[in-house]
Point group: C2
Chain length 475, copies 2
């Protein structure tokens, strides 16, 4: 990663910072700050300081301090992001939300919960589950990622195919803009059209517009029943066609996950996978709904899954069988980590009807570049996690992978898709953004950013292509 | 309405306007322009010209012309809005979208439709219905309102309680900003986090940020079965409590409409209403879903509706019975129009759990002010159409009504609600907006508007409190 010269913090700034943070809630020793400089992208940059905020007033004071001094301020949940969006590559201060982890209110009668941003996704699910509800966004990292992070990236997960992303499941926010002002956006209700929709604008903005201090989340009742199916196909094209067929009938599954042949091979070594011979692709399907019609719903989805190339369709009847069916999928991430610890993991999206073309194109790219590609992901949304298995310490491999990525992004856009479904842009994908977003729109987005954050201190350089424009830290 | 001096159009401007509009697609005679100066709010202001655009290039040229001349440009669908948002009270040009009424593409395999803004809501529903889909937003005016108008106001309708508003059912837009630039926002897929969410920012912005020229709409499969129930209660409090109970269980109705005693009285004169004695409030409930479990779904909702104060619960078994049950509700609008042709119709929202308090407060306000108030609306969202039945030609009545409205808005905000659920702000409610939206947020919204529309030509003065700032037409 290119290094951007970051200014030392002045003694006066440090003194103010210590006062705002309070005793025991500021790190400035580089060794202490080090772990707060990375995320799951494995990118790293050393912050000059780390503040563990406890409330809104403190965050407001911190923003004002950084704004006046022109020091970057980077929000951080638990660092589970995969694009480097929380990596302070422009230096400055990391603001950790880990102490702001309180569920402030659960109102089952209004189907909402009010939470602080540092609440873990799983912690929220357990708390609202006690009232018979869930919050749909369910990233794989749910046990360790924060709601604030989910909102910052608009992170979803398998359930989004039926229940939507954070943008469809958040009613309102409280946030501190880069101006240092408190913004209350949205409503407590499922309808509201007073003023512009700043709630959705802030969601997915990766901490570049405002720092979320409180979120009002829309809750969904837990379905009575859920069934798991596993459909094995001869090849990925058969599986992709089945996904189209499943998504074209009325019963929307609550998960519709795909694994290609390379992904299956990667986990073959694990004993007891219990997969028939000749399987070239797998679909993991979950169907939920009222107990009274779960059998009919499963039948409708199963009928659509019965596509040419289907080798086996199994439906779990017990919790043990569910676990057995998911075993292949769950084994995938550790297996890939073992094979290629520094793999590149993309999360492109194409319209469901174009998924077959995408897969063909990826096979061609893999063949041409010599880069092994493993595909899995949320097929019901057309959201595929394309994994390039390379050794990043081999310069030739890195070069091939980058050429391959470049060609893949072109393919995705040509198919009417988008470069990111749920991981966001951060540092990793910022230089590709202008291929998807046209220049006038990009310029407008930068202008909007300037209204929220005139000094350019909030997570500078993230989410957009880097420009020659002076940034907060080097102007 | 206060009159704002609007400049005459110069001969040079008119010549360019005629060239851009093309023969037969421009009105400038005041008598011809007159009908394009009102909407269903009954507010009126005479536009200086009306252009009937046919394509994007023309709209871009029109924006550039108006931008350079500082002439207001007001987008208009079919004028069914109720807040004066399309009324050109700052003068200038009305841009009618009625010629841009083509459904460009229906892609059942990707569950989307691409339409021009002048397509009527009902026209869209019929076209996608042929493929087994619907688009959830369903304003009462569906037969005559445009999709562009639905998007401009984020207009919903009864189905929003289960299926959401336009913001939850739109994937992307093409629009022309006030700068005269073409903006492509959003994606073709149900996931996407590249750049800021300008799609939702433009939806609900009442033509103040950009002119929508094309919309990609998310389609939903039509449910197999639907059942209609009518629950009659002794009073509105019992009905409000039943709404809370219905919304706290997992089966979400696809419509949950309420009528209070005054609304029932207004339609009593209509024969054959077939309502038992002593009814003080009605709920109209629709439940949809797979045929296999519709009985169980109805039973779950009916059980929740069985609340203290229930007088009668009927479930329609045939189309004729459905029509009979809806008769009371359908008779309401004509009856109210007869009683008070110029009634004030608000569409405030409160959290469902606060609806009882709202109703009590409204009864108190009606009693204190002497203004007759009729309440009905989308109870499942807490979205109540509060109708103040007054004669606007009686100055004393108007004064009482305004005092009553003022107190009502305070009550709504105190209950955690919002001033508008689906009608928007326009002219009618702009002076109340700063009670709901705090000053820093309002300032930020104005700053965002300036980025989209630096010359301030797009629907100036709408949606926000009027300020002392110079506007495009009088600076």
């Amino acid at each position: 990663m290119s290094t951007i010269p970051t200014p030392e913090l002045s003694p006066g700034f440090l003194k103010s910072l210590a006062r705002i943070a309070g005793v025991g809630h500021l790190l400035t020793d580089p060794a202490d700050c080090w772990p707060y400089g990375y995320d799951n992208s494995r990118l790293h940059a050393l912050p000059r300081g780390v503040v563990f905020a406890a409330d809104e007033a403190q965050i407001m004071a911190l923003v004002v301090l950084c704004r006046d001094a022109g020091i970057p301020l980077v929000a951080r949940g638990r660092g589970t992001g995969t694009t480097g969006a929380t990596v302070p590559d422009h230096g400055g201060i990391v603001l950790s939300f880990e102490r702001m982890d309180t569920i402030l209110r659960i109102a089952p009668e209004d189907r909402l919960a009010v939470v602080q941003p540092g609440v873990l996704n799983e912690q929220l699910q357990q708390a609202v589950g006690a009232f018979g509800f869930f919050w749909p966004p369910d990233p794989t990292s749910a046990a360790s990622c924060t709601v604030g992070g989910n909102l910052a990236y608009n992170s979803a997960g398998p359930r989004a195919v039926k229940y939507g992303t954070p943008r469809e499941n958040t009613l309102g926010l409280t946030a501190i803009s880069g101006r240092g002002e408190r913004l209350r956006t949205g409503v407590l209700t499922t309808k509201g059209v007073v003023g512009y929709d700043l709630t959705r604008l802030i969601i997915g903005s990766e901490g570049t517009l405002a720092l979320i201090t409180e979120a009002t989340l829309k809750l969904t009742p837990r379905p009575e029943a859920k069934r798991t199916l596993r459909a094995a196909y001869a090849d990925i094209h058969a599986a992709a066609a089945a996904v189209s067929a499943i998504m074209a009938q009325p019963v929307i599954p609550c998960a519709l996950e795909i694994m290609d042949a390379a992904a299956i091979r990667a986990v073959r070594r694990h004993a007891g996978l219990d997969l028939p011979e000749g399987v070239g692709a797998l679909l993991m399907i979950e169907v939920d709904g009222p107990a009274a019609c779960i059998d009919q719903s499963v039948a409708a989805v199963a009928a659509a899954a019965h596509h040419a190339g289907l080798i086996e369709l199994r439906c779990a009847e017990s919790a043990a069988e569910v676990a057995a069916l998911w075993k292949t999928r769950k084994a995938l991430s550790p297996a890939l980590r073992h094979i290629a610890p520094k793999k590149i993991n993309e999360d492109i999206v194409v319209p469901v009807s174009r998924m077959g073309e995408l897969i063909e194109g990826l096979e061609r790219l893999s063949h041409e570049s010599g880069v092994q590609i493993v595909n899995f992901g949320h097929a019901g949304n057309g959201n595929i996690h394309v994994n390039l298995l390379i050794d990043p310490d081999d310069p030739a491999a890195v070069e091939s992978a980058h050429a391959c990525l470049d060609a893949m992004f072109s393919l995705v856009l040509q198919l009417g898709g988008t470069l990111s479904g749920e991981h966001g842009i951060g540092i990793a994908k910022r230089d590709f953004v202008d291929r998807e977003i046209e220049a006038p729109v990009l310029a407008l987005m930068r202008d909007i950013k300037r209204q929220f954050d005139p000094a350019g201190i909030l997570n500078p350089g993230k989410g957009f292509p880097e420009t020659a424009e002076p940034t907060a830290t080097n102007r």
